[in-house]
Structure formats: C-alpha cells, structure tokens
C-alpha cells in the first residue's frame, strides 16, 4: 500500500498517527483500562494528594481520586467535544464555502464577507459571553467553539471550489451536459475533501486545547467531570507541592494536541489524488 508506506516514512506523521490512535483507544476502552474506573465520582479523602507510586502511577488529586484513571477517562470527553464541534463547524462551513466558490457576484461576496466577520470574533471572549447568557457548561463552550470555527472550513472550501471550477475537467463535464449540483457534489467536493480533512484533523487538536482552556476558566466542563482543563484548574491551589496534579493533565493535553497536529501535517503531504491506485 503505497499510501501507508509513504506515510510511515514521514516520522512525525507516523508518530502523530500513533498518538491519535492511542487516544482513540483510551477514549473507547477507558472504563475497561482504568485501574480505578469509579473515580469519576467517588472520593477517598484518606488518600488525597498522594505523590506518584505503584498503586497510583500519576498520584491522587485533592479528593483522593486516582489521577491516572481520571486522565484516561477524560479522553472520551475531550474527543467527544472535539468531534461534535468540528462536525458542526464543518456542517455549517463547507456548504457555505462550496456555494461561495461556485457562484460569482453578490451571493458569493455576501457569504465571504459574513465569513470574515465571524472570523474576527475571538473564541474565548465569545465563549465567556455565551457562558454569561446561558449557564457556564460544556454546551455553551461547544456552541461558542463551533460558531467561531466554521469560517476556517468556509475559506478552504471556497478556495478549493474556486480553483476547481475553472479546472478543465469541469469544463468537460459541462460540455457533456452535467448539471451544477452534480458537478459540485460528485466532482468538486471529493477533490476538495483532502484539504478539508487536513483542516478538520488540525481542528480537532485545536478544539481540545481550547475546550481545556475553557474548562480551566470554569466556562466549560463542571466538576466532577474528569476534564483535563478542569483538573489543572483544580490543581492550582495545591501547587507547587502537588506538582503531579497539574503536570499529568497538562501532558495529556500537550501530547494529544501534538498528535493531531502532526497527523494533520502528515495528511497534508499525502492526500494527493495521484496516490490512488487501481486494484
């Protein structure tokens, strides 16, 4: 498989893929892998703030819960948020970009100027504003993130569609009598998909980071959820003594986001129609 071989030759990309697969595994199998699966809610005050040991590889938090298990269990939440946000952003952004790229004149201009406006909105500030209007929760955070992320998809879809609309094969299709819908959905979209997939992958990592930030600020997940950002917030009062409490959730965020970024970069290099092969 030429694609796989080429991909694996790119070490950072392969590393990114490995990380993402690992996170995926943790998210899906979390409750089965974690040594202390009930530590989402339970409290064992006797064992609070224990440093890393064999029994508790990442130590315990302020309520005596095993940090290792909580971090594993938190993977699911992180991925869930990321996937929902990116899916929503793509669902809004891609169709708009396709239309803007394919048409000319004022509909196209209108869409792109609206996109520019939304692009100018700062994510965190909007999240804070929405948290005030609704109650601070994971839902308000996800809404804010989706609303500020869709313009990225629109811009890419727009650029690709514009480029492809003038491609010779679209010309050939029109001369054969293909209608606009067919051209957009069956021909332009698959060719634009590669750029969009790359953006989505990087977006996943970016969203995890931003969601963690919101969690840290108290504008996202609420206790007792094993949210990585929330854990870091909770650890603040116990630093620098209980260093493990902040370090390991932070590392989890770092490695996850890095993994998605590396994967996205690697995908950018290999999503080339010329790697498709007949069987």
């Amino acid at each position: 498989m030429l694609i796989l071989r080429k991909f694996l030759r790119d070490l950072p990309a392969a590393a990114g893929l490995a990380i993402v697969l690992a996170i995926l595994l943790l998210a899906l199998l979390g409750p089965l892998i974690a040594p202390h699966p009930d530590d989402i809610a339970a409290a064992h005050l006797a064992a609070r703030l224990r440093p890393p040991s064999l029994a508790f590889p990442f130590g315990t938090d302020d309520l005596g819960r095993d940090l290792f298990s909580r971090i594993i269990l938190g993977a699911f939440g992180a991925l869930e948020v990321a996937l929902l946000v990116v899916a929503a952003a793509a669902a809004i952004g891609v169709p708009l970009g396709l239309i803007a790229g394919y048409t000319e004149g004022w509909p196209s201009e209108l869409i792109m100027r609206v996109t520019d406006v939304f692009l100018a909105l700062p994510q965190l500030v909007l999240a804070l504003a929405l948290a005030q209007l609704m109650t601070p929760s994971l839902q308000s955070a996800m809404l804010a993130l989706a609303v500020t992320y869709w313009p990225f998809f629109t811009r890419i879809a727009f650029a690709e569609t514009r480029r492809l609309r003038h491609a010779l094969f679209v010309d050939a299709l029109m001369s054969l009598g293909a209608g606009h819908t067919r051209i957009i959905l069956a021909h332009i979209l698959p060719n634009a998909a590669s750029a969009l997939i790359v953006r989505a992958t990087i977006g996943l990592g970016f969203t995890i980071l931003t969601a963690a930030t919101l969690g840290f600020l108290g504008m996202g997940a609420t206790p007792p959820a094993p949210d990585w950002g929330l854990m870091i917030a909770e650890s603040r009062s116990y630093l620098p003594g209980a260093w493990w409490f902040a370090l390991f959730p932070g590392l989890a965020i770092l490695i996850t986001v890095l993994g998605f970024n590396l994967l996205g970069d690697g995908l950018r290099d290999i999503v080339d129609p010329r790697l498709r092969r007949s069987r």
Binding site: A172, N191, P273
Partner: protein
C-alpha cells in the same frame, strides 16, 4: 467555387461570429475593457470534412472552438447546425441544442477528474445521457475502449496511471459514447511523441470513417495539418486571414502571415525555398489591437491604406480566400513561395 461553402449543405455554419471577452461590471471594482477574441469569423464544416484551424498563441482559435461548442457565448453573429439556428443562447441552453458537437481538450489529463477511475468517468457520459442500466453502461464502455484501441482493463485505472497517448484515447472514447457528429479537436497532437502522434492521427481517421465524424482540427503544427486536413483556415488576432483547400494553401500561400508562418516552420527536408527574414516582433495581444489590418505592424508589404481599415476575407484565387488588400500586387511582383 467558393471556399466557404462545401456541397452538399454544410453541417455547421458560422457567420460573422464575434466574441468579446471580459468587460463585465463588478460591484466594487471597475470593469476591464472587453477584448475581441474572435472578430467577424465565417466558416463552414461540411459533413465528413476535416477543417484545420491554424494560428499562434492569442489568435483566438481556442475561443472560436469553445464558442462553436457552446460553452462560450458569442457576442454577435450566427451559428447553424444542420441548417437550424443554434446561437443566441446561454451556455446551458446552447449545449442542449448542440449535443451533436463535442470537444476534445488539449490537455487530456486535466480534462479528467483525478479522483474518478477512467471507467467511471466514461460511464458518466452515459448516465448524463439517460442510460440507467449499469450493465448496459459497462458493455458500451468496454466496446468503446476497444474501438479506440485500449484494453477493457483500462477502465479500472486512474488518469495519473496512463500515458499521454492513452489519455487522448480516453478523451476520444468519452465523446464517442455520446454519439457526436462534429468533434472539435484542440491541439490533439501537441506534447505527444512522434510515434504516439502517428497512432492518434491514424485512430482519428479510422473513427471518422467508422462513425461518420466531422472534425475541426485546431493545431499549430503545420506538418501535421498539411497531411491531415482537407481545408485550412489561418487565424490571426481573432480573424481568419486565409482559407483554402490544404494543398492549395501550402503550395500557394497568399496572405503575408501565412507565408511567414510556412517559412518559419522547421522542415525535415530542408528549408522552403522562399525564406526571407524571420517575422519580427511577437504575436500580438488582443488587448491592444492595431488599427486597420492587425498584421500591418509586422508585415513587410504594408502600406498606409492597410492601417486604415481591416481587409475583409475575399476570394483571391479560385476556391481560395484571403484577407489582404495587397495580394494582387504581391503575386505580380514576387516569385511564389513554394514548398
């Protein structure tokens, strides 16, 4: 015998076609001045004919081809297909009434969707034509692949896996599936190796006799045009400057541009007898048209009258039209340019 009509009644008739490009107004930006890509062109295609359209970059031959096809709307003039008027329509409408006319692009690879297998691309033409049954589509694709000299297994391949010659055959197969009568070939041999070129030309002749096709052969390769086409039209800056049966045009080129073109082409057999100095300057740009005859700035026979107004395409010899007001004096004064 007028070089423009071809008995019996022509299949395609183009009359006084003019195409202006650009000049659209935008909301915020000022409009760019319109460019005359094609200027007062009249041409006919008789059934079964191969008419060559020769010119250099910027002469408008591709625009003319796309306008006859229907994807480019004309600004003035008339196009008739089998006697019926098919002009004055937007591209979608134009294509609908001109389904007998098809186009083979210069860049055969770029004309195929890189994400689709070749077979699927070929079947799409049939889908658009209303052929529902998948089995029937597969059979017809297999049979047309054989007709163009390719193996049926080629259907599973992707465009980037095929060579230039194979891609041209796919392009031909694609339009054969939808029963064309007129095929506009845009530089069908450019970029091809000599041996592949010969095969493609052979195939084109074979297809013509088998399927009863008529070709408009756009090319800048004079040696190919000389062997392949029945009639030749020479284009310069949007106008046809000479039109004649092939043998006649190559033996007795009348327009100074045609003569310069024929003299410039490198030949295996050594140089054509009349050489003279090479044509000075560069092919003109349609955005800055010279007044009067477009060729006057580079023409060594030009006189003040040439810059006053554009000469019309008129019969200059039996069956041989040229757009130049100095032909009579030139034929009289100079030895003929002979191949």
């Amino acid at each position: 015998m007028n070089a423009m009509t071809h008995s019996p009644a022509p299949l395609v008739e183009v009359r006084n076609l003019t195409v202006l490009l650009g000049g659209k107004r935008h909301l915020i930006r000022p409009a760019m001045p319109a460019v005359r890509a094609v200027s007062d062109v009249s041409l006919t295609l008789g059934e079964g004919e191969i008419v060559g359209l020769v010119g250099e970059s910027g002469c408008g031959k591709t625009t003319l081809g796309r306008t006859i096809l229907g994807l480019q709307r004309e600004s003035a003039g008339e196009i008739r297909l089998e006697g019926k008027v098919v002009s004055a329509l937007a591209p979608t409408g134009a294509r609908a009434v001109r389904r007998a006319i098809h186009y083979v692009h210069q860049d055969a690879a770029a004309a195929l969707d890189p994400w689709w297998s070749v077979g699927r691309t070929l079947e799409e033409g049939l889908v658009l034509d209303g052929v529902r049954a998948a089995a029937e589509r597969r059979d017809r694709v297999a049979s047309v692949l054989r007709a163009v000299g390719l193996d049926e297994a080629a259907a599973r391949r992707y465009p980037h896996e095929l060579s230039g010659g194979q891609l041209r055959r796919i392009a031909l197969a694609r339009i054969l599936l939808v029963n064309p009568r007129v095929v506009i070939l845009d530089e069908p041999t450019s970029g091809l190796d000599m041996s592949v070129q010969a095969t493609v030309l052979n195939l084109l002749l074979d297809l013509r006799s088998r399927f009863g096709l008529t070709y408009l052969f756009i090319s800048h390769d004079l040696s190919v045009v000389e062997r392949f086409c029945d009639r030749v039209a020479i284009m310069y800056l949007g106008r046809i400057v000479e039109l004649a049966p092939t043998a006649e045009l190559f033996a007795r080129p009348l327009h100074p541009y045609t003569r310069a073109l024929l003299a410039a082409a490198p030949r295996l057999a050594g140089r054509r007898r009349e050489r003279g100095p090479p044509l000075p300057g560069d092919p003109p740009s349609a955005t800055r048209r010279p007044p009067g005859c477009a060729f006057a700035p580079r023409c060594r026979y030009a006189e003040p009258a040439c810059r006053a107004d554009e000469p019309a395409l008129r019969p200059a010899a039996p069956g041989h039209d040229a757009a130049c007001r100095r032909i009579d004096t030139m034929i009289g004064a100079e030895p003929e340019a002979v191949a």
